[in-house]
Structure formats: C-alpha cells, structure tokens
C-alpha cells in the first residue's frame, strides 16, 4: 500500500461501529421472531398481506436498507480481522479486503435493488 494515500480506515471503522450498534439492537429480535418463534409455532406469524403492506411502507424499506448495509460493513470489517488474527493470513491482505468489502458493496447493491423495485 502506498504511504501518500490517505487511509480510509477511520471511515471503515465508523461503518463497523455503526453496524455494531444496529446489529446488536435489532438483529436478535428479528431472528427470534422470524427464525425461531414463527417457524416453531411459538407465536402466530403475521399474515402475508400485513407483511406485504408493511414492506411497501417507505419507512420500513429505508429501515431494512440501513440495517442490511450497516450490518454488512460491520461484518466486512470484523471478519477481515478475524481472518488476520485467527488464521494469521495477513499476507492474503488484498484478497481478504476484496472479499470482505466487495461482499458488503455487492450486498448493499442487492438490498437497494430489491427494496427499491418493490
């Protein structure tokens, strides 16, 4: 990496951090409801129509977009360091960065497309 280039590490860390807050606040309840409580019959799932109506509300779409995007950048940053530290494969730097941040960018585009084209 060249030294005269400004580091974008603070920006990436900010995204990681914001994603960490969002993920901690909302993912547990989402997973508990849709991943466990509804499929296992602990609670009656909402009807298709009510979910579709909810999803067509722009506020819901913006919410889901923000949650998905920030969560992905949280993953990218943390997973990158997990690979560095856990497996000690810092020499694969470029490849890991491309995979992690590239994945987050692709996910953001997919989320944006899906939520916009509803």
């Amino acid at each position: 990496m060249s030294h005269n280039k400004r580091s974008n590490e603070p920006f990436l860390w900010l995204l990681f951090s914001a994603g960490g807050v969002v993920a901690a606040m909302v993912i547990p309840i989402h997973l508990l409801l849709f991943g466990l409580a509804f499929p296992l019959g602990w609670l009656n799932p909402p009807s298709y129509q009510s979910l579709a109506d909810l999803l067509h509300n722009p506020v819901t779409r913006l919410y889901l977009f923000v949650v998905c995007t920030l969560s992905l950048f949280h993953w990218a940053h943390r997973f990158r360091y997990t690979l560095y530290d856990g497996l000690q494969i810092k020499h694969l730097n470029e490849l890991i960065n491309t995979f992690c941040y590239g994945g987050a960018i692709v996910g953001t585009v997919v989320a944006g497309y899906l939520l916009w084209s509803l």
Partner: protein, 135 residues
C-alpha cells in the same frame, strides 16, 4: 505451518500456532465474539431472501415460510441467534470501557453506563415485535 513470506520474515519470528485461540478461554471468547459477524451477515442474506419472497407473492412467501421450518435452517437460525446475542452483550458492555466517566472524583459504575444500552435494546426489541405482531 508459518512459512516465512514477505510479511512473515525468517528473523524475529516465534512460532504461533494457527490454533492459538483454542488455548485459553478468553482467547476463545474473543474469536467467538469476532465470529459473530458471520451470523450477522447470514441475517442480512436471510432478510433479503425474505424481502424477495414477499415481493414474489403469497405463494412464494408460503414456500419461504416452509423453508424456514426445515430443521437445518432452524438450527442455523438458533446458532445465529446465540451468536448475535453474544455480539449484543459484548458490544453493550464495551461502552463503559470505551468511556470512563468520572463524577465527583469517582468513576461512574460500569452498570450505569451500560444500563441505558440495555434499556434501549429492550425498547427497540419491543417496538419491532409490536410492529411485526400487530398485523
């Protein structure tokens, strides 16, 4: 194991096992906490699949719900839920360590700083549950 490369020169190199994090509980906890990000990513994939299923109409969504009842998917979601809980708790507990607030010469107890995080967590979770279950 750790073959010398450009980044790992031969000199000044002590051997660290690839599995160093298995040797002590705090290390293992650290790696588990870091691995929680994988399940955060899984949640995003799951959510986007759900959005796409809802967009596809009632029949497609019924199929998606059936898929969610597959034992393997339930197990995956259970594990994800536990990892995301680990992430949430470790994240909220980090706040008092990141900011050591002093009042009247004494350090404010950790619980007073982490506490509001937990209150916010409960409120947000209740709000999401209410919005989803209302329908």
């Amino acid at each position: 194991m750790n073959a010398p490369t450009e980044y790992l020169p031969k000199s000044y190199r002590t051997r660290v096992s690839t599995y160093w994090w298995l040797h002590r509980w705090p290390y293992l906890k650290f790696i588990l906490r870091e691995l929680s990000s994988v399940f955060v990513a899984w949640f995003v994939i799951l959510t986007l699949l759900q959005v796409s299923a809802i967009a596809g109409g009632a029949a497609g969504y019924a199929q998606f719900q059936e898929w969610l009842q597959n034992p393997i998917v339930i197990l995956l979601n259970l594990v994800s839920f536990l990892f995301v809980l680990l992430h949430a708790v470790t994240w909220f507990n980090l706040a008092p360590k990141a900011m050591a607030v002093r009042m009247g010469g004494k350090r404010v107890p950790d619980l007073l700083i982490a506490g509001p995080n937990y209150v916010a967590w409960a409120v947000v979770s209740a709000a999401v549950a209410w919005i989803v279950l209302r329908g």
